[in-house]
């Protein structure tokens, strides 16, 4: 094989004509001509279009026939012609129409009007797009990487709005209609049968006069006057709403709304990420980014600002050099000796253990903080000082934020020793930070879960959970989620107000100090910001079951964050020389969001199916667990449907179904492998054909030269 290639190279070095054939020859080849015809239109060559209109001429009618096929398939705009030529083409098209039957004419006309209608609708829709102008101006000034962050934020606002609408329609609307007597309906309250009255005790502290600071504490922590409102699960202690003709089953609606919003979020995220995923799949090269993409699509044509253009040039310089550097490092890695490889792998193993240890320490700290906070919340709150009160209430949030602040720094230090290529380093660090951030919420929820189901003596046997400390545990979990969300919001605002703006003021006015100049202006760090909003969204997903109004609060929070971040970007940030690529960014954001969704579904499913629902409050007082609503509803279906559903959920159906899916998957994997092999073979054949073509052209040129020299 190697001999063959060196022979080829010798050949190409021998004769110049062989390596770069005369281009005019190549332009005469039939393949080139047919591609050129496909690109433009034969009209552009024949300026005298008179012949094309006459159907009598046999050659031109052939042409016409050919054109008519073309004209039918594409709309005029897609042709690469200038406007006057398109006008002529359209006139010809319209004359063509006369020779068609009535049916074809009507078909063509209706398809055109339908397309025009769709376009007008699309144009209307783009006007309704939220924050269109803001995002466009950010794109022009800071590039597409940062613009993709703001588009992502807009997507989350819409997602939360739709989630809130689902919850509103299914749960809140019937209750509001009944409460404010808009429809003639009543609440249905089924009394508890043979339940220990101890389980139903729900002492709600309602003092007469509320001091101002306890009002503020209640607002910030969801206790006190907020606990009984429709913000939390405990308010919905209703079994149904009786309308004129039917009874609206509220427990079923509550559960269905939860499942609906989780399913909707999953589908919407997957749909949005399909485009990015497809392009990642197509890239068969090992590189994460291809050079073609960076060189031909590297320049953002919508940049209009000179300083932004300078920045783009320098970022391209940096990026291309970094890529070549990464190539070199990759080659170096491939040439490692076995001893070095063993050394590196054992070092990596050690460092990964260190990373796990750091994670374990953080999780344990969160566990301790949550336990401490929960225990002390139960004591007399009025006897404590204002600051101490808040500190204990917000202790878990504070510990989580501190952990999320310190661990990225530790991870960034550790990864230097692991000797990966630069691109992989960045990705691995980000993945570790993502996991850390999102797992902390899970740890918090699991700590709460363990506290709820653990009791000192046998008191849990009575109701299934620790009803002394948590008479209405769902409301209390909802309160924790509410506190997390409020604290997250306060931290983001505080960081912008007290860190970003003063930094900018310092840099602008104290430019004499070397230290401050070194520190420099803020750069908009995309990964950190994205993690922040995905963290907020995960809290919303977990908390929406326990606190139905939480998505509305999340929507407002993200709207405020959009404006705050936009102001911070415009007034305090300088564009970074290392720019994120938009295509990469979109895929990365949605991947992180998907991880958040998966991590949110786990505690929800466990609490819905394993922890008994509280008997003192909420719509599920009559059921053992929340999930029991479904089997009970199924048992009210007609018997044929019931047998069908029982059949579908039994093992006799699941095992064969699983095996069939495995077989289908293996088939597609084999098909993909076969296609790949064929593609490789075709590529080889293409390059061989091209070599033959060049050889023949060279022979032809030599022969022409000989004939010419002979005739002279």
């Amino acid at each position: 094989m190697m001999l063959f290639f060196s022979y080829l190279e010798n050949l190409s070095l021998d004769s110049n004509c062989f390596s770069s054939p005369p281009v005019n020859f190549l332009q005469e080849l039939p393949s080139y001509c047919s591609v050129a015809r496909r690109r433009t239109n034969i009209l552009s060559r024949d300026k005298q279009s008179g012949t094309l209109l006459k159907p009598t001429d046999s050659y031109s009618s052939q042409l016409e026939g050919g054109i008519t096929e073309n004209l039918n398939s594409q709309s005029i705009r897609k042709y690469a012609l200038n406007i006057s030529e398109k006008r002529r083409l359209r006139d010809i098209q319209e004359t063509q129409m006369k020779y068609l039957s009535e049916w074809d004419q009507w078909k063509r006309y209706s398809s055109k009007s339908w397309k025009r209608f769709l376009e007008k609708a699309r144009e209307m829709a783009t006007h309704l797009e939220l924050w269109r102008k803001d995002i466009r101006s950010i794109e022009g000034k800071f590039g597409t990487g940062i613009q993709s962050y703001f588009s992502f934020l807009r997507f989350l606002v819409l997602l939360n709005l739709v989630i809130f609408l689902i919850i509103f329609m299914l749960v809140l609307l019937p209750i509001l209609l009944t409460k404010y007597k808009i429809t003639n309906s009543t609440f249905v309250l089924i009394p508890l049968k043979d339940m220990d009255t101890q389980c139903t005790l729900y002492p709600i502290s309602s003092s007469g006069l509320i001091y101002f600071y306890s009002y503020v504490i209640d607002l910030l922590s969801g206790t006190g006057f907020l606990e009984e409102t429709s913000l939390f699960y405990g308010h919905y202690t209703i079994d149904g709403v009786k309308f004129k003709n039917f009874t609206y089953d509220l427990p079923l609606a509550y559960l269905v709304s939860t499942i609906a919003y989780l399913a909707l979020s999953l589908l919407w995220i997957v749909k949005r990420s399909v485009e990015g995923f497809k392009s990642n799949l197509i890239r068969s090269e090992e590189h994460f980014q291809s050079y073609c993409n960076k060189i031909f699509a590297g320049w953002d044509f919508c940049i209009t600002n000179r300083s932004v253009a300078e920045l783009k040039h320098s970022s391209l310089r940096y990026e291309l050099r970094a890529d070549l550097e990464e190539e070199r490092i990759r080659q170096k890695i491939a040439e490692r000796t076995p001893e070095e490889t063993i050394r590196i792998y054992s070092l990596r193993l050690l460092l990964n253990c260190v990373v796990l240890a750091v994670l374990a320490v953080c999780f344990y700290a969160i566990y301790l903080a949550t336990t401490f906070s929960q225990e002390h919340m139960k004591k007399e709150m009025d006897k404590m000082v204002f600051g101490e009160n808040l500190l204990i209430l917000y202790l878990p949030s504070i510990v989580i934020t501190l952990a999320n602040f310190i661990t990225p720094i530790i991870f960034a230090r550790i990864i230097h020793y692991e000797d990966y290529s630069p691109g992989f380093e960045i990705r691995l660090t980000i993945l570790r930070c993502v996991f850390m951030r999102l797992a902390t919420i899970c740890v918090l929820v699991f700590t709460l879960g363990s506290k709820i189901t653990s009791c000192d003596d046998n008191t849990c046997e009575l109701c299934g959970y620790n009803q002394k400390l948590y008479p209405c545990w769902e409301t209390q979990v909802g309160q924790e989620m509410y506190k997390l969300m409020i604290f997250d919001f306060i931290i983001i605002l505080a960081m912008t107000l007290f860190v970003d703006f003063p930094r900018k003021l310092l840099v602008t006015y104290c430019s004499s100090s070397k230290l401050i100049q070194c520190w420099g202006q803020q750069e908009f760090a995309i990964p950190d910001n994205v993690l922040g909003i995905v963290y907020g969204q995960t809290i919303c997903w977990i908390g929406a079951f326990f606190s139905p109004l939480l998505p509305a609060i999340a929507t407002l929070k993200f709207v405020v964050i959009f404006y705050v971040k936009e102001l911070s970007l415009l007034y305090t940030c300088r564009p970074s020389p290392r720019q994120f690529r938009a295509s990469n960014s979109n895929f990365f954001f949605l991947l992180v969001l998907l991880i958040g969704l998966c991590l949110a579904i786990i505690p929800l499913t466990i609490s819905m199916s394993h922890i008994p629902s509280s008997k003192a409050c909420g719509p599920f007082t009559n059921f053992n667990t929340t999930w029991e609503v479904i089997p009970q509803t199924v048992s009210t279906f007609p018997s044929s449907l019931q047998t069908l559903i029982h059949g579908m959920t039994s093992e006799a159906f699941a095992v064969p179904f699983f095996m069939i899916i495995c077989l289908v998957m293996f088939y597609f994997i084999a098909l993909a492998g076969a296609h790949k092999r064929v593609v490789v073979q075709l590529r080889e054949q293409l390059s061989l054909e091209s070599r033959d073509k060049r050889y023949l052209i060279q022979k032809l040129t030599e022969a022409q030269r000989d004939v010419q020299s002979q005739s002279d």
């Binding site: 005029i76 291809s290 073609c292 295509s583």
Partner: protein
């Protein structure tokens, strides 16, 4: 530099331009305004022409490293009529289809206009992108070789239109970056 006669665009003309290009009403009217401000006085907008320099110094194209190529590809006889400007804006608009953008991108990147993007063209593209004085020969050769190894399927050291089309169809950033907003900046 006076202004064109302030003819309002006829409604039929507007409809026709909407049907023949990918631009929306507002975009066409806004380009019409810009054109009127720049074209020489005393002429109807349909007959007036702009020079390549005038179009190159539009805010949308001022800092583009490929502005001379763009002007060359879209102009006729080295001048721009109103319809040429509209055609250019249509190709670069958001709603344009990928095949049209790929077609014109190929023409823009083909510096020596021989119907192929060869090594010489690639080197010029890289130099324009980097816009710096000290670009080593090695870097240029490396980058050119990488691009050709990825997209030159028949190994003739040139990119034909089909190969370029194939490469751009796989490129995730192409549609996003090959856009220019000619209006209301």
């Amino acid at each position: 530099m006076g202004q064109c006669l302030r003819y309002q665009m006829q409604w039929e003309d507007l409809e026709e331009y909407q049907a023949l290009t990918f631009l929306t009403r507002n975009e066409i009217l806004s380009i019409h305004d810009t054109f009127l401000k720049l074209c020489p006085s005393g002429k109807h907008y349909k007959e007036a022409t702009l020079t390549m320099d005038q179009v190159s110094s539009l805010p949308a194209l001022r800092v583009n490293p490929f502005r001379d190529r763009i002007c060359r590809v879209f102009s006729h006889n080295n001048v721009f009529s109103f319809e040429d400007v509209l055609g250019m804006a249509s190709v670069f608009s958001e709603q344009a289809c990928p095949s049209l953008k790929i077609e014109y991108a190929f023409r823009i990147y083909d510096f020596n206009e021989n119907g192929f993007i060869d090594e010489e063209d690639l080197q010029k593209i890289v130099l324009r992108l980097l816009n710096s004085d000290d670009v080593s020969e090695d870097l240029l050769m490396d980058l050119t070789n990488h691009v050709l190894s990825e997209s030159d399927l028949d190994k003739d050291n040139m990119l034909s239109f089909s190969e370029f089309e194939h490469a751009m169809a796989k490129s995730p950033d192409f549609m996003n970056s090959f856009r220019i907003h000619f209006w209301g900046c």
